[in-house]
Symmetry: C2
Subunit: 361 residues, 2 copies
């Protein structure tokens, strides 16, 4: 089968590397020929919102999927009328707008932090009156890796926050004093087959994921998170991998956001699960049976961010599985990741420290 991927970032690259093993073929759409995916497959050069380039991609493949969420919904609706497009465009749209997402959570009875819509400065003041401080002002669209967010700690922050973000539709959200951040990754096939990966605990710095580990050893939370994921999958008659990020606060789960795609917090599944999130996404959208999501052993993932990774040093670490994306170094940029598998969390912690000792300062 020929699969088109809109976006040729590291997620698309890893989807293709997993799908090639199953004999699938891949063509990407991206504005850079040297994008991580372009290095490992054919590429149509163009912008994600260029209808001619989208049409060109669609003509060359049997099925379309994406590795970015900022594909304009209108362009997708149009293309999906002619070419099978999975996950469903409606899920992509829901994930693009924090307000849609909030309304989805409410409709599906999934607890989430309280929020207010902020379309003008007066609404910002009213929202702060209603929710109190601290609170987080977020753009409704195009936020990722901590971008498009501003934490308001006092009234004095309102002016700068409004100056920084006020040109686009916003929401104000309660600041959640969480104990842990977790993600629940599920997959649903075109035939409705369901599978879940172990609940994953994530640590962020400056809004960017720095490391994950699985399992969480919180069976009750894992059960509840999977139930939430299944509600979302069913709602969209979904096919593919979907990630739900949640906070754990006062021992309860609060949904933070959905990513209707494979996710950085699931990179450990390449070695840590019987079938990776990437292979299962390809299987799901290609109409193939899902593979086992079973955990091989406790696993951890450390992101390689910013500076040139010490490849030789990392490869010399026993049991370190190194993944580089072929990207040029740049501050804050995700260049690769390292997965560590088993035997237990104590051993993993020691090996995480060994990896971190090799990271550029």
């Amino acid at each position: 089968m020929r699969i088109g991927i809109i976006g040729a970032g590291q997620l698309g690259r890893m989807l293709a590397l997993a799908g090639y093993r199953l004999g699938q073929r891949f063509v990407f759409l991206d504005h850079s020929a040297d994008a991580p995916g372009g290095q490992v497959g054919q590429i149509v050069l163009g912008e994600f919102d260029d209808p001619r380039r989208l049409a060109e991609l669609a003509e060359r493949v049997d099925i379309l999927t994406y590795d970015v969420e900022n594909v304009p919904a209108a362009a997708v609706q149009e293309i999906a009328r002619r070419t099978r497009f999975l996950p469903p465009p409606a899920a992509l749209e829901a994930g693009q707008d924090r307000l849609n997402e909030k309304r989805l959570f409410a409709r599906l009875d999934i607890p989430a932090p309280d929020y207010r819509v902020v379309d003008d400065r007066a609404q910002l003041d009213a929202a702060v009156d209603a929710l109190g401080l601290p609170a987080v002002l977020k753009t409704r669209r195009l936020g990722y890796d901590g971008r498009g967010q501003f934490v308001l700690r006092s009234r004095a922050d309102l002016g700068p926050a409004w100056s920084a973000l006020g040109r686009v539709p916003l929401i104000l959200e309660c600041f959640v004093q969480f104990e842990r951040e977790v993600s629940s990754i599920g997959v649903r096939s075109t035939s409705g087959e369901l599978a879940h990966y172990a609940l994953t605990e994530n640590r962020h710095e400056s809004g960017i994921l720095v490391r994950s580990h699985a399992p969480c050893d919180a069976p009750e939370l894992e059960r509840t998170a999977r139930e939430y994921v299944e509600r979302i999958l069913a709602n969209f008659d979904y096919a593919g991998v979907l990630t739900l990020e949640l906070f754990v606060a006062d021992g309860r789960l609060l949904a933070n956001e959905i990513a209707p795609r494979v996710h950085n917090s699931g990179h450990w599944t390449i070695e840590g699960a019987v079938t990776s999130q990437f292979e299962n996404h390809v299987r799901a959208v290609a109409g193939l049976p899902l593979g086992s999501t079973e955990l091989v052993a406790p696993s951890a993932m450390v992101n390689l961010i910013g500076g040139v990774p010490d490849l030789e040093g990392l490869l010399a670490l026993p049991g370190a599985h190194v993944h580089l994306y072929g990207k040029a170094p740049r501050p804050g940029r995700k260049l690769g990741h390292v997965t560590l598998v088993g035997p237990d969390h104590a051993a993993l912690d020691a090996r995480i420290e060994a990896v971190r000792a090799l990271l550029p300062a």
Copy 2:
């Protein structure tokens, strides 16, 4: 690093898929753009013995390796003067000619079946007189997957065998009544670091490998085989993966042939070893530290040969790791393989049967 691979078959494809994870880049040389490697990387179109195309490939990369053994030695010698070429051309040359190989085994004191050189019909008769029957007449060059061989069982076979093969230099080899066929796969880095995979037992049908399993549970044979491999690696100041195929006859090892490259009998290492033969070959030729060759669990590999593989059926088998090469079906053609990992040989045997039940008749 940019790595050039001469030949874009399934071995090249799997080398690239392993190397991409380490951020390496790949360009192939092959006469078909739709070759398995061409589907997953850039390709220079041309014949392996076309000096202009070889030069074009060399200009685009930092290092050259190969996935086929029939690259003409003269062309390689020429190109290796300008571009780093690994494994060393001398090893490639030794593997290209059965007589060179026999002389190598003799020089390194590695037991091998007795043989005679056959350059004309009279020498064939004399060789049969000396070695007796049955015996195997083999072309010195370009034999693989059982091609270029003729088993002589009686004097009546000599005429047809000579008609079939007599236009090229040959050897006549004793027919070995073996108990098992095994292969020992080793890897050596540019810094002289050494590692070995578990001794693998192989089963052939009509000269084509149909399945392998590892480990062999024959520690004494494994030790001896590794010693032989190390002699060969040292002899060539080798870098990369090298495979030694051997017969076990009367409980003793007899060297059959070397493949100075990754090998079909090592495909199980993708899931069954901590680091696959493909990743370790890339690490070795790129001057990176080797990864652990440790066995994850007992493993088996079944080749998918000839007819259209039942992908859906195979993917639905628990624990089956399916690899397809993107090749069109054709009788006798290796289209993919399935790896099965652990927990033990009894469980593996049951799962091998489940895979074989799905193979085209």
